[in-house]
């Protein structure tokens, strides 16, 4: 039974929460606004908020000067590619651990998780040298391999927790009614598993898109995704705030939108089921 909350109390909560929310979000809003200013307006003192001549010039400049969309495309290929390969490897594994558990299942899951605890810098040197010798440095393919491997434990875990929730009895019932293995998988399991697979995919694209250790260390100009491309603004020439903002806005917008849809999965995926 919910208590009646006074309107005054409600208004107070709302005011405090909106103020704090706006403060936390402000840097993102400011980046968005600055991306439509001229470089002079971007550093104006006092700062201009909405009343400036909105221009999309920065977006075209960023594209013309540095072939922005190549890096954007690298990000897409690397994050989606590594997620899809990861799913292809992880779905059978998570599937069999959830439906045909053995006494080793828990140990295997825990061991997989432990690989995620390995600090990347601990294996930086050998990976770098292996990549150099195999000519994988600065290639999309090389990064896809690394990102697939670092996110594989999370993918297996997330899928496992989702598959675990599918009741096994329903399969037995279908089998009793004479369903073949094919129709069992196709008409019963798949429809129940798809939402879990979709959330896993979403979260892992986000993680891979924002990954900034391996992408910075293993790429140069050619295969650099947006994380590495944006890093080139750390040693800029001349005025660059508006251009930095335009490049940043395009880099974070798609992921921000995907992220808002995956709030719930985020908790499950990043705490390995420890908080639900």
């Amino acid at each position: 039974m919910a208590r009646a909350i006074s309107t005054r109390r409600m208004a107070l909560n709302t005011a405090i929460a909106w103020t704090i929310g706006a403060m936390i979000f402000f840097p993102i809003l400011w980046t968005f606004l600055t991306s439509f200013k001229t470089e002079a307006q971007a550093i104006a003192d006092p700062p201009v908020f909405f009343l400036f001549d909105w221009t999309t010039e920065n977006y075209t400049t960023v594209q013309e000067r540095s072939n922005y969309f190549r890096h954007f495309w690298n990000s897409v290929v690397i994050s989606v590619g590594s997620t899809l390969i990861g799913l292809a490897i992880a779905i059978p594994a998570a599937w069999s651990m959830a439906f045909v558990p053995s006494k080793h299942t828990k140990n295997i899951l825990m061991w997989m998780l432990s690989t995620k605890m390995l600090p990347p810098v601990g294996v930086l040197v050998p990976i770098y040298l292996i990549f150099r010798d195999l000519k994988l440095l600065d290639t999309q393919f090389g990064l896809i391999i690394v990102l697939t491997l670092i996110n594989l434990p999370i993918i297996v875990w997330m899928l496992y927790t989702y598959f675990k929730e599918i009741p096994g009895e329903i399969l037995e019932a279908a089998r009793m009614d004479g369903a073949t293995l094919r129709s069992e998988v196709l008409y019963i399991l798949l429809p129940m598993a798809v939402p879990g697979i979709a959330s896993t995919m979403l979260l892992n694209i986000i993680l891979a898109w924002n990954e900034a250790f391996w992408t910075l260390n293993l790429t140069a100009a050619k295969a650099a995704p947006l994380t590495a491309f944006i890093a080139s603004y750390s040693s800029p020439e001349g005025l660059f705030y508006a251009k930095l903002s335009a490049a940043s806005t395009m880099a974070i917008a798609p992921i921000l939108i995907m992220g808002w849809f995956s709030q719930k999965q985020l908790v499950r995926g990043l705490t390995f089921g420890a908080v639900k």
């Binding site: 840097p27 432990s114 690989t115 600090p119 601990g122 050998p126 924002n210």
Partner: protein, 290 residues
């Protein structure tokens, strides 16, 4: 219902994941250990003789190592303090009834989705720059001297930026925990005369305890490996003022090309991370049984 056939099928289905992760873990780890006992510098081609623990003594007695350890602890501790305290506060606030709760939630978690290089560069230039940043404009409007964040307090500035990125994570997880708290319990306590502070201390905090531990452990794992934010803002400097262990190993191996010392540093980083990992794994393992 598992038959012998389905068991062996299960093994085949798990094998690719296990073998790939095993390869990913064992091969580089073995190489790191191997390189760490060699004199191996990419700038000096030729034989790479075995030198025992010399790389370790060099790395561990380097003054930069002490600085890096202190900076790592300050970075992890600082960010944890800010995000956990802030996260508890925000979780309780967002759990209250209000108008537009969903929108506030979206605003609060947004920073988590911003890639590290973007958030670091936006904060460094558009906010903390001593001439053109918003904070400098604000300071001069109030008649104060602008503060040169990265020259005077580089590590604290990085702690600020990283906290902004991780506050949403702590908030989201603690809010999830808060929402599973039975509101009738709170109401009963209130009727029995428990003030807000008592309700927080004896009901909310114990209820969130588990989630708080999870937040601390998971964040620690990620925060030990902070790299991009340092690379694009201070490059570890001035001097070693903002160099953490991860950055120091990167500098040894890929800037000074000293593979041997870098590898020894990598082993040290692994040992440190494992201390935290053991506790985290225990908690997650317990949860798996229930």
């Amino acid at each position: 219902m598992a038959t012998k056939a389905s068991r062996s099928a299960a093994r085949v289905m798990i094998a690719p994941s296990v073998l790939l992760l095993l390869g990913w873990m064992v091969i580089p780890l073995a190489l790191t250990l191997y390189f760490s006992v060699l004199r191996y510098n990419l700038l000096m081609p030729g034989a790479n003789p075995f030198i025992g623990v010399e790389n370790y003594t060099y790395f561990l007695t380097d003054p930069a190592f002490t600085d890096a350890i202190i900076n790592t602890l300050l970075l992890v501790g600082g960010v944890l303090t800010i995000t956990v305290l802030g996260g508890i506060g925000l979780a309780i606030l967002l759990d209250q009834p209000m108008w537009g709760q969903g929108i506030v939630r979206i605003l609060v978690i947004a920073p988590f989705f911003v890639m590290p290089t973007v958030s670091a560069l936006v904060w460094k230039n558009m906010f903390m720059n001593p001439v053109n940043g918003l904070f400098a404009h604000l300071a001069s409007a109030l008649g104060m001297q602008p503060f040169d964040f990265f020259a005077i307090a580089p590590l604290a500035s990085i702690i600020g930026i990283v906290s902004w990125q991780w506050l949403p994570f702590a908030t989201l997880i603690l809010l999830t925990a808060m929402q599973s708290l039975d509101s009738e319990q709170l109401e009963a306590a209130e009727m029995d005369g428990a003030g807000p502070l008592a309700r927080f201390r004896y009901i909310m905090l114990p209820h969130m305890a588990r989630a708080i531990t999870v937040v601390i452990l998971i964040q620690t794992i990620f925060l030990l490996s902070i790299f991009a934010e340092i690379l694009v803002t201070t490059n570890g400097g001035p001097g070693t003022a903002s160099t953490n262990l991860t950055f120091l190993v990167y500098a040894e191996s890929l800037l000074r090309f000293d593979v041997g010392t870098g590898s020894a540093g990598g082993v040290v980083a692994i040992i440190l991370a494992n201390i935290v990992a053991i506790f985290l794994m225990r908690m997650i393992g317990k949860n798996l049984d229930t």
